[in-house]
Each structure stands twice: as structure tokens, then as C-alpha cells.
Symmetry: C4
Subunit: 438 residues, 4 copies
């Protein structure tokens, strides 16, 4: 049980102790592999990092990912400072004047700190896939039928047996506290009032406990999982999620290595010191790619699905399917649902747009007589009610939105997220009325 005075003595790169939430940790080894870079950790060598740490990570992060041998025990208790919110400091138009997702985006760009904007908005490489995701929808044209009674339209849907007011869900996005001081629980609350499902991310800034605690009694959540090289950690978290009552398990399979989001890397670089030696940076570049492998296992393969299924009764959803062949494999493996996704253009650039893949997937499944074997969801570039309509018309059962929810949350908090869902709803009803599709 080290005292804070003692911690202060371990304040170098070679001997780096840090206090977080009144506990001390030896981060000397870990710092080199920290996905956020070693710099930020060395900055707090010998100090209390709780405030900074809380901006990005939930309190249980250490328990889940840091090897036990580096936990040094409790120190004297100190209250953390409360975070200020940028959102409120910046003049924003009244929420009622926000007509669509692009409005939220342009306000979020003002409200967010440069690094948050870079992290949220960036895609990999030249951002060709990022652009394509939405543009591909604009190239799909409608064929409205007329003189059809569209007085009543029901927009509710059942996803893996769970009711949702709309065929929309909030997909998993990491580091919610970059955008809002309260983090992902803001999304939880808005999903609750509007009756849609939230997908809880592994790398959330809030802990899964916090997000489950913030939900309404009847509200449904899914849990998104990155499979850890240490299988035990993964089994623990799956079982915890099941106990907490989530309705499905989403395994993200499109990130055996994190994408190079250069916009984000540039901001990180600028925030880092200008004294960085060129030679050091070579290894640092390589390092970034390597480090994440401690959190996401690049050896994950179809075989692993078996033990994943074995350790809980939750239905399994695969997130990141990008071709017809893999959709067929998923169906044959007995998976309950797939999400067609390229991770919002954040992984492999020049991958095809999600909606283009959707068309290949439905055909491939049909061709293998597996069209009823699983439910199909899709995310990436959905920005308009018409996009939702097109995805459904082409065979998806529901659609996930990522950045639009982050932007709404960052610029107006819970009210913003609720408003976004209403806009989606409006547009959607409008589509349905005009086109008469479930």
C-alpha cells in the first residue's frame, strides 16, 4: 500500500508509477504499449492521472486490461476535479433549427476539441471508403409508387426478438468522453426515451456497469466485443455482460489491426512535443500498429466463434462482414445476425461502401438458400431518412449510425441525440408514406 509520497519518487520513463482513482500502478512496461501513446503516460509519471484518465477511460479499465503484477494497491483518497464542458461555452443555434445530421456535424466541428474532432471524424488513408459510404446511397435512386393508402405507417421492428421503435440503433463508438464529459451514458439515456437499442462498446469511456445502470427498466442493449489475445479476459467480460442483462453479443471482426487514420495521427503528433527525434519516430510508427495487438487479437478466426458461443447464451452478431462469401460462412456457422460494415471507413481504405456490399450479401445468401438463416444489419454513411429506407428496401432489417450520434451528443447532449432520432423518424415516416414499405 504505497503512499502518494512514495509514488512521486517513481517519476521517470524507466520507473513510472501513476495514481488513478486513488490506486497506484506501475506503468513502466505498459506505457510502451499504450495505444494512446507512451507520451501521455510519461507526462503523469509519479503523479495523479485520474482527471486525464477519466476523460477517456472507465474506472474499471485497469482491472480489465492491466496485468495484476502492476497493481500496487490503494493510496490516500482525493476527490477528482469535475470536468468542464466545451459544449456549453460555445454559442450554438437552437436545437429546433437543426434539420438533419449534417447540421449536427457542422456544429460538432466547432464544439469539439481539435483532437476529438480528428478522432471522431477521421477515416483511414485517403478517406475514399469514408466518402463512398454515404455517396453510394446518393447514387441509388427511388421509384415511388402513387395512389397507395399511406395514412397509417408502423415503423417499429423486432431485432433478434427485441422490440425497437425504429429500425435504427446506436452503434458502438469508442471514447465517448472526448465528446461529452459524461460519456456514453448520454447515449444510453436518449436511446431509452426514444425506444431504440444501444450497442455498448468495449472501448467506451464509461464502464459497462455505468451504461447498464443508466438505462430504463425495459430498455435493451447489446454489447460490442473486441476479442483479447488473453482469452480469459474475454470470457470474463462476456459473462459479466450477460449477467448485466445485455440482449446480444456483437463481435467486431474487421479490426485485426487498427486502420491508419492520418488526420487523427497528425493531431496526435502536433499535440506531442516538437522535440521528437526523427529516428525515434520510425519505431513509434511501427509501434502504434503493434501495440493494439495486446487488446485485439489478430489471430481471431472462424474457429474461435465456437468457444465464444459456448461461454454464454446470448445471440451472436458479427460486425464487419464485407462480402457475400463471408456472410454465407457466418450463416453456416449458425450466427444469429451480421452487420455489414467497414467500420465507418476507419479500417481498410478503398473497401467498398457498406450498401454496395449489402446487395452482394443478400444475393449470396439467397443463392445459398440461406436468406432466412440470419438477420442483416448495416452501418456506415447513413445520414438521411432515405438512406435508411434504401438499406431496408435492399434487405437490411435495421441500420446503425455512429458519427451522427457522437456529433449530436457532443453538440447538444441528450436532447441532441433525442432530436436526431426524431429527425430520422420524421424522414423515415415520410419515406414510408411516400413509398409504402414496412
Amino acid at each position: 500500500m504505497p503512499s502518494r509520497n512514495e509514488v512521486e519518487l517513481h517519476n521517470s520513463h524507466k520507473d513510472c508509477w501513476v495514481v488513478i482513482h486513488n490506486k497506484a500502478y506501475n506503468l513502466t512496461e505498459f506505457a510502451k504499449e499504450h495505444p494512446g501513446g507512451s507520451k501521455i503516460i510519461y507526462k503523469f509519471a509519479g503523479k495523479d492521472a485520474t482527471n486525464e484518465f477519466s476523460k477517456f477511460h472507465p474506472p474499471d479499465m485497469m482491472d480489465r486490461f492491466l496485468k495484476k503484477e502492476f497493481h500496487l494497491g490503494s493510496t490516500e483518497t482525493i476527490q477528482p476535479n469535475s470536468c468542464k464542458t466545451r459544449m456549453e461555452a460555445i454559442p450554438r443555434p437552437p436545437l429546433s433549427s437543426i434539420l438533419n445530421t449534417f447540421d449536427f456535424e457542422s456544429i460538432a466541428k466547432e464544439v469539439l476539441s481539435p483532437d476529438a474532432w480528428a478522432y471522431y471524424s477521421s477515416g483511414s488513408g485517403d478517406e475514399i471508403t469514408l466518402q463512398e459510404n454515404h455517396q453510394a446511397f446518393n447514387r441509388i435512386f427511388m421509384k415511388p409508387r402513387v395512389l397507395v393508402n399511406v395514412k397509417k405507417v408502423d415503423t417499429s421492428v423486432e431485432l433478434l426478438g427485441t422490440a425497437s421503435a425504429l429500425p435504427i440503433y446506436i452503434t458502438a463508438t469508442a471514447l465517448g468522453k472526448l465528446g461529452h464529459p459524461e460519456g456514453e451514458v448520454v447515449l444510453t439515456r436518449a436511446a431509452g426515451t426514444r425506444g431504440i437499442i444501444q450497442m455498448i462498446p468495449t472501448l467506451a469511456s464509461c464502464s459497462i456497469d455505468e451504461m447498464v445502470a443508466a438505462k430504463l427498466p425495459q430498455q435493451a442493449q447489446w454489447f460490442q466485443l473486441y476479442v483479447n489475445p488473453n482469452r480469459n479476459l474475454t470470457i470474463d467480460i462476456i459473462q459479466k455482460a450477460e449477467k448485466l442483462g445485455v440482449k446480444a453479443l456483437v463481435v467486431t471482426i474487421d479490426a485485426p489491426q487498427l486502420g491508419r487514420r492520418e488526420k487523427d495521427m497528425r493531431v496526435k503528433f502536433e499535440n506531442d512535443a516538437p522535440d521528437v527525434q526523427a529516428t525515434e519516430s520510425l519505431s513509434r510508427n511501427e509501434g502504434a500498429a503493434r501495440a493494439i495487438a495486446h487488446f485485439i487479437d489478430p489471430s481471431l478466426s472462424w474457429d474461435d466463434l465456437k468457444w465464444i458461443k459456448a461461454c454464454s447464451n446470448l445471440p451472436l452478431i458479427l460486425k464487419g462482414i464485407q462480402c457475400g462469401e463471408d456472410a454465407v460462412l457466418a450463416a453456416q456457422a449458425g450466427i444469429e445476425a451480421i452487420i455489414i460494415s467497414n467500420h465507418g471507413g476507419r479500417q481498410l481504405d478503398t473497401s467498398r461502401s457498406a450498401v454496395e456490399v449489402l446487395q452482394e450479401v443478400t444475393q449470396a445468401l439467397k443463392h445459398s438458400k440461406l436468406e432466412n438463416a440470419l438477420e442483416i444489419y448495416i452501418d456506415g454513411g447513413i445520414r438521411r431518412g432515405t438512406d435508411i429506407f434504401k438499406a431496408l428496401a435492399l434487405g437490411a432489417k435495421a441500420v446503425g449510425l455512429g458519427r451522427p450520434f457522437l456529433y449530436a451528443m457532443s453538440s447538444y447532449g441528450q436532447r441532441g441525440v433525442e432530436h436526431l432520432i426524431v429527425i430520422g423518424l420524421n424522414d423515415r415516416i415520410y419515406c414510408a408514406k411516400s413509398l409504402k414499405l414496412p
Copy 2:
């Protein structure tokens, strides 16, 4: 028979009386459903709203749409002020320098008030269909034949048995007084001198009586109809139109719900107070979509065509056909003519361009051996003589123009509209001469 003094006492949201054209009305209930928003009505609670009202609506609006129970009777007579015209206050180049429809558009943008410009020019969503309507013509290339005698060319045509000097008509567009203080009668007069047909809109700022009164003896008009949830109102107006001598009935079928024209919504929002509470606006957004349902029936279906046909002897035209299948249904239903139209890109965004649909329609009719069953018209994006020519070459019998006439009227009044028709004429003769097509 309330006095003006008495009206003044009913000046709140909860008790809202208004005087229009020397008659008093209780608009407390109606205000909530007013398509133009409740704000504008509350502004005149307890006051005389005639001037403002006349800018948008014909005198008979109340009789046609307001429930009898809210008519409170006549008050003391007062003369309304005369409207000033923006057009004359703004320096405009001589009409003779206007060479094409785009010239009119750019002057109208200057001359029109911001809200009129927003209302006229806007399309729904990202205005993709609005752009496509005209762009699609630019992608159709010509194949001129040579050494053909084109000394004489006849550009006249017969539409449902009515002669027209050109294969062009003025389509229905609402709220003409936004652009010109005299409203749609300006279009009536120009159509008369140039010998083409005007389509009278349900939602005109002038009354149908005024527009019929403004026509020349031999001049032909059609009447455009939005079918009201209250069928009796619709039957009344049809029979009135027939008695007034219109030559055909046009039922608009592409607006079961009004499109979200965001450019227009933004201007309206800015004109409204900045004190609007965000929460209120949620409902207001939803409200706008709901309210119009009191004027346009979203349950209208193919069956309704029977009673519509039954209540008059006028030929029936369906406006808003957008695919081959519905064109075939229309022909089978015994409809005399269809208008291929996406409402000028104001309804469902990413609908296909009108001219693309035209090609599908002629093929579908031919395939069903119905190519002679009805006449085909088209509107949307027609801006050049070559566009007219292409539409005719692809099977249309005539084309409608919307915005170009509004812009010509708003910037130069009757002379402008006449000039526009001449330009169309010139271009068209030119085309005909070069290409020799009827």
C-alpha cells in the same frame, strides 16, 4: 355579427379571433394545424389580417377550407392597403437582354424576398432530384440529320382536344403572390396572349374565379386538384371548376405528405422568433408534417379515381406518375392523360429525373400495348428548347414548366412571362428546323 372591438378581446393563443376581408373568424383551433405555422396566425390574434393574408391566399380560402362553425360573421368594412412591388424597386436589365430561363432565374433571385426565393427555388433533402431533373437532359445527346427541308415548321399541338400554340403549358405552382402582388392572374394573361394552356393550382394565391375572369374568351385552362380528406369539399371544387369552363382536371398524386424542403424551412425558422424553445420545436417539426394532412389526403388510392371521375365530365389527368407500372395502371383505369413529374424535386429526394422515367413509361405502355391509351406530359427541369425537343422525341406530347414561369413573372410581370414563351418558341423552332420533328 361581431364588432371589430369585440374581436380585439380575443387576442391570445387560447382564444384567437381574426378579421379577414371584413369578416371575423375564430382561428383558435385552426391555428395549430395551419400549414404555414401557427406563429403567423397568433401574430394577428384580435387584429385585422387581411393584408398579410392576401399576400398568400385568395379571398375564398376561408369558405373552402375553414369549418363553418368558426365563421363568426361580418364586421365593419375597411379597405385593405395596396401591396407595393419589390420588382419595381430593384434595377433590372432590359427584358430584351434576357436570353434564356437561367437569366430569369438569376434576376428573380435578386428581386424576390428571401422567403419567396426559398419557397420557389427549394427542393427536398439534398436537392439531388432537383439537380437531376435538368442535368438528365444534358446527358441526352442529339443526332441531327442534314439536308432536310426545314423551311416551314408548325409548332402547334392539340392537348386532350384543346389547341395550343406550342407543346408547352404553365404548370400549377402555389402561392403566386409571394412573387408578384397580383399573383397567378399574371400567368393567365400571358398564357392568353401567347396561346398556351395554364394549369390553375388548388393552392393559388388568387381564387379560381379571379383566374378564370382574367382569361381571354378562347383561352383554355386546366384545374389542378389536391384531394381533401373531406370529400365533399373536393366534389364542390371540382363541380365549380367544371362550371367555370376549365378543360381538364389534374389530380396531383405525388404529395401524400409534403416534402421536407430544408432551404425553405431554414428561412421560415429565421423569420420566426429566436426565442423558440428547443423542446417545443420537436413537436413543431413533427407538426408540420401532420398538419398538411388536413388539406391533402394521404389515404388517396386508385379506387378514389372512380368517384372523382363520376362527379364531372372533364377529362382526368394524373400528375406525379414516376414509374412504368403506375403509367400502365393509369391507362387501365381509363385516365385520359398522365404527367410524369416528381413535383420539381420538391417531394421525395433521390427520386429519378422526370425524363429518365419518361423512357421507362413509354416502354412499359408499349409493352402492354397501351401506347395510344393516354397522352403523356412531363414536367421538371425543362430549361432549354432542346429539353423540350428531347421530351417530345422521347414520347411526350407536351411539357410543363414551373419555376421558370414563376421567375419570369416575379422579375418582369406579364411581359416577362410572354418573353419566356417566345424564347421557348425560338429555341423550339430552331430545334425543329435543325432536327425536323413535329
Copy 3:
């Protein structure tokens, strides 16, 4: 034989005499039909118009087109002023720095008066065909073969039996004095030194006599003809051209009515008075289209080719073929050569690019086994040596350039035109060497 004093008395719209090259004419009737507008003629009512007239028309224009009854006889002789050249007043980079046709274009834009630039550069309508003409070449990609001996390349060619140093000719373009005070003889001289053919335009600013006089002994010329409604005028000019030794007759068939070149119209409008009455302009607009019919016969048809052929022994070339069907008709009519051309995008906008038509034409001729029946030339948008190469590879025997020669002439005179031909030559040799094609 009227005196200049007498002429001065006829100085109104209703009685309008003018002196040109020391002869008096009564232009009262003609003014109304003048293709360049009546304004410019009225400006010289009662005056000597020689200077202004010479800027646009050759001295023999009156003899060729004005009815004999309006020739009033000679007046006292006066020397005309000499024109100054804008070219020399404006600083230009050394000719050797001009690397391609675009360089000439950008300098010509500076050197030319605004109305000359407008007349030369404009296309009809939205200038879509004008753009397409060149862009279409950029979409055709090359397939270079390697390891082929290209040490020696012969770029000469025989066109209708006449030798040309290159497969390039100078096509007919009207009003050369707008660009250079000496007019088209500048082109004649450069064509001579470089050994290529010049096509003499009907509507040249120089007379055909002047252009023939300016040529070298062995130099070959073609004569471009607009067929006049008065057949006798046309027969006269054909026989004159034959006597003067031109090698072929080119009948332009793509202008039954002149295209609406709005850029040009705008400049003309601004140069005209600002006091133009709007109503007058209506008729003026219509007038312009009508007036030209006095010079170019819109009734010209395939039958006319017979008497045209009958009145001389010259080979006949049709300029303005725009589809495969008409190419076949031309071959069947015994025509010696055709020019695929859309008049440089100055006639019907959204016509297809010349090179796209070329591909249709060669296929159609082949299909009718007429591929050897006539020679194929092409003009429109040729700006690079690779464009020339592509046209030849696709079946053309030679290519015509219009604007590039006007721009070279206007910016550097004869030297400029010669330099342009060298650039074409260089590029062409380069192509030939790389690709080995005749």
C-alpha cells in the same frame, strides 16, 4: 450617280443611304434583314461606312448579296483610314514560348477585342457540345506498341488527289478581320509556306479574289459554300471559284438556321444602345433568326446536290455530317468526301462530339460496304497532336482546325499560324514515332 451631299439627306430609319468603298447604296429595306442587326446600319444612315464595313466584310459583298435595285452608283472617291492592330499594342510572350494551342488561346483572349473574342470562342446554348468536342478526345486512351522501328515517319497525305504536307487543313471560319486587320489572307500565306490546304469561307472578311491572289503558285485551296435561297447567286459563285482554281467545293449543311451563341449575343447587346425598348427586342430576337434565311437556304435538301454538282467539275465535300445514316446517304449520292462536324459546337447544343460520330460513321459505311466510297475528314475540338492521331486511327483521312488558327492569327499573325502548324507537326511526328501509324 449620287453625290455624298445627297447621300447625307437620306439619314433616317425610313430612308437610309450609306456609302461604302465610294459607292452609294439604299439600305432601307436591307437593314431589317441584316444578320448583324439593323442598329449598326442605322448608325451610318447618310454616312460613309467603309471603315466599319471593312472590319467584317470583303469589298465584293454588295455585288454578291444586295439586290441590284439598291445599288445607287459611285460617289466621290475617298481613301479609307487604315486599321490599327490591337495585337501589336499588347505585350505578348515570345512566340517560341508558345507550346500548344491552349497557349495561343489564352493570349488571343487578351489580344482580341471583347466582341471578337465572343464571336470566335462562343458555342451555342450551354456550350456542352463545344466542351465535348475536345473532352471526347481525352476519354480515348492509347495503346502504344513497343520495339517497332520508327526512325523514319512520313506525315504527308493526299486529299482528293491534292498533296498536303500534313493531314491537317485550315477550316472555314467567318469574319477574319475581327481578329487580324488583314483578315483571312494571313491564313492563306501561312498555309502556303507550310504546305497545307486552306478552306476559303463564303463569309470571309476578305474576298475570294484576295485569298486566291495571296496564295503561292502550287498552293491548294478549297471553297466553302453556304447555298443561297437565290440559286443564281450560288451558281455564279461556284463558277467563279472554279475559274479561280480552287480544288474542291465544300457545302456546309449543318446551318439551316444559325445557332444561338449567347455569349456572342450578350456582347452584341451591350455594344448596342442601353435605350433599347423591351417590346422592340422581342421582334428583334425573332428577327435575327429569320434574317439569316436570306443568306442560307433552310430548304436545302439532298435533291439540291444534283444541280450543285452539275454546275462545276469540282469534287464535292459535305461539311456537317453528324450521323452514320447521313454518311451513307452521302456516299450513295456520289459525294467525294464528307466532313464530320458540328460546326465547332456553334449550332445545335448537346449534339454529339465529332469524334464520337466518327466512330459511328466508319461503322455505318463499312456495314453498307461503302468504306471506300468517299474520304472522311473531321473537325471540332482538335487541340493536340494526339487528337489528330486518334482521329486518323479511327478512320479520318485529315482533320480541320478552326479556332486554333484564328487564335494564332490574332495573336501573332502569319508567324503565329506557321508556328501552330509546326507544333501540330511535332506532336504528330511524336505520335507517329511512338505508335507507328501512317
Copy 4:
């Protein structure tokens, strides 16, 4: 053995002696054929040109290309000045902040002198092929498979039996000293530390001896050859290269005549005097095209490959194949490898992109059952790890990069080149991991 004083007397166009590396030469005849223009040579008539000469050419250039009769013998020895490096004078961001090839490009644009930038960056004509080379990659979309174990990835490859750490090589680019005072040896050293192959250019600024001397013991090099009209010179250089230990001979076959790179010509023109007479320039333009024929033989054909093969035991690579047919011819001629290349868009503009040709080539070879007859490499527009991946997936065994290496060398020297290779490596590993391809 002339003295420097004597040389000074021969200082005119008609009698032009020059001292280079302490030897005197009579350049009177040669100046007229100098590919870089005669101006630059006349500038040094009667003087010591060593400094300027060294910026572009290796010391042995004279021995290799200047006729013996013009070698005048040694003069007094003088040390040349040392070149300063622009690179160090200009502030550059730390190398670690360079994330991709485009970053190098934008810094090189600042660091390079205008003429170096023009020479390196330019393409021929309108640079359509230059653009296409890279753009074509962006139009090829990926189809990532999921749940495949990608923990270990091997990126090494064997090219004609020589091991390479990556499927990337440094292609031949002339005039390295324009970018870096030490020239191509910088590339040699970086290729060595990173284990990839360097292709030594005929027209390098360093001599082949220097480049071979700079390599590590085990490091492999190829030698790129332009075949000289004087076959003996070519045989000498081939045999010298073989003796020096290069692993393969690359014959460039896409330059029977050098492309017109207008950006480059403009800069050269501006650097030349403004007093150039227009007439002189005509011939100069023609001259440039002619002069190069003294260095690169435009008569080179398939037959020549026989004696080229005969004079050494090195495997033969043809650089510049641009269609399937020629690839088949190469395979039938017993060539060991081909490089699909359009010379980086510097030769014939509107040639197809390299990667488009690649697809034709693999099909043509397969169709002729020659797919295993030779190795296929490709260069042109490769800028991203994904481009490399796509080229390999489409059948290439390795890819060459040209400009990116020049830019990296010019902006950061050897460290820059090494960093570039790492970036390629990173991206590539990333691709491989995501997509699992060798």
C-alpha cells in the same frame, strides 16, 4: 594538352571549348545536339563548366557519349566548389510527422529548385496519363475477408532469384543531383539498409561505378539501359555493368522519342534568355526532338533483343510494355521479366494507366498459356500500401516507385528514403493483415 588559357580563346558559338573535371573538350558540334539545349553549353564557352555539369551528369559521361575526336586532353587541375544543399536551408517538419508519400511530395515542392521540381514532377501533354496512373488505383475497390488468422505476415519476395525484403524496388530516374547534391548514391544506401533492389539509370547523375561502390556487400542492383544508336557503346556499358555485378539488365523501350513535358519546357524557357528570337525557336523546338535520337535509338526493334541477350549472361527485363500483345511477344522472345510502365506519364499522354494495362497483360499471357513464362513488374502512380497490394493481387510480382523516392531523397536525404520504405512496409503489412495475401 591544352592550357586553361588556351581554352579561354575558344569562347564563341562557332568555336566552343569547355573544361570539365580538369579536361578540355571541343563542344562546337555537340552543342547543337545537346538534349538539354545548346544555350547552357554556350554559356560556358571558354570556361570551366565542372560545377554546373556535375549537377546533372556523372564524371564518365564524356567518355561514354562524346566522340573521341572532341576530347582535347587534360588541363591544369582545380578543385570544384562544393554544392550547397537547398534541403538544409529550408525549414522542414520532423521526419516522424511524414505519414505518406503525398507528405514527401508537398515538402519536396518547397525544397526543390523550380527547375528540379518541374523536371521531376512533370508529365507529358495535359498530364492525363500522369493523373490516371494513380487515380486508376483509387477506382479499384477491396473485398476484405474476415476471421482469418493474420498474426504473422511475411513480406519478402524473390525477384529473378534475388531476395528482396519487400515487393518494392527503386526504379530508374535520371538526374538525381537535381534533387540531392550527392545524387543517386543516396538511394543506393537507403535501399541497402532496407534490403530492397535499386535500378541504376543510364542517365544518372552519378556514375555506375559510384553507385556500385556505395552498396552493401549483399545488396542487389539492376542496370537500366537506353540503347544507343552506336551499338558498340551499348555493348561496352552492358559488359561493364555485368562485370560490376548487377543482377539484371533493364532495357527501356517506351522512349523512341522523349515525351513533351511542357511544364518542364516552360521552366527551361524562362531560365533561358528572354532575347530568344521567335524564328530561332522554331528550329529549336524541332531540334530538341531530333537531338535525343543521338542517345536513344528510335529504330530499336524486337530483333535487337537477340544481340543484347548475346553480349551478357544477365537476365533481361523489358521496361515499358503497354499492352497484352507486346507482353506475349516478350514472353515468346524469351525475356525473363517485363515492367508494365508508361514511364510515369512522361511519354505519350492519354496512354492507359499502368494498372489497367496490368489486367490486360495477365489475361493475354494466360490466354497464350504463357503466365509462367516471365515475371511481371509494374510502375507508375503507386503511392499507397493499398496500391501495392492491388498490383500484387492483380498479378504483379513487385512494384517500382519513381517520384516518391526522388521526393523523399530531396527533402530528407537517406533518412527520408528509409522512412518512405518503412511507410510502404507498414501499409503493406496492414493490407496483408487485413486481406491475407502473400
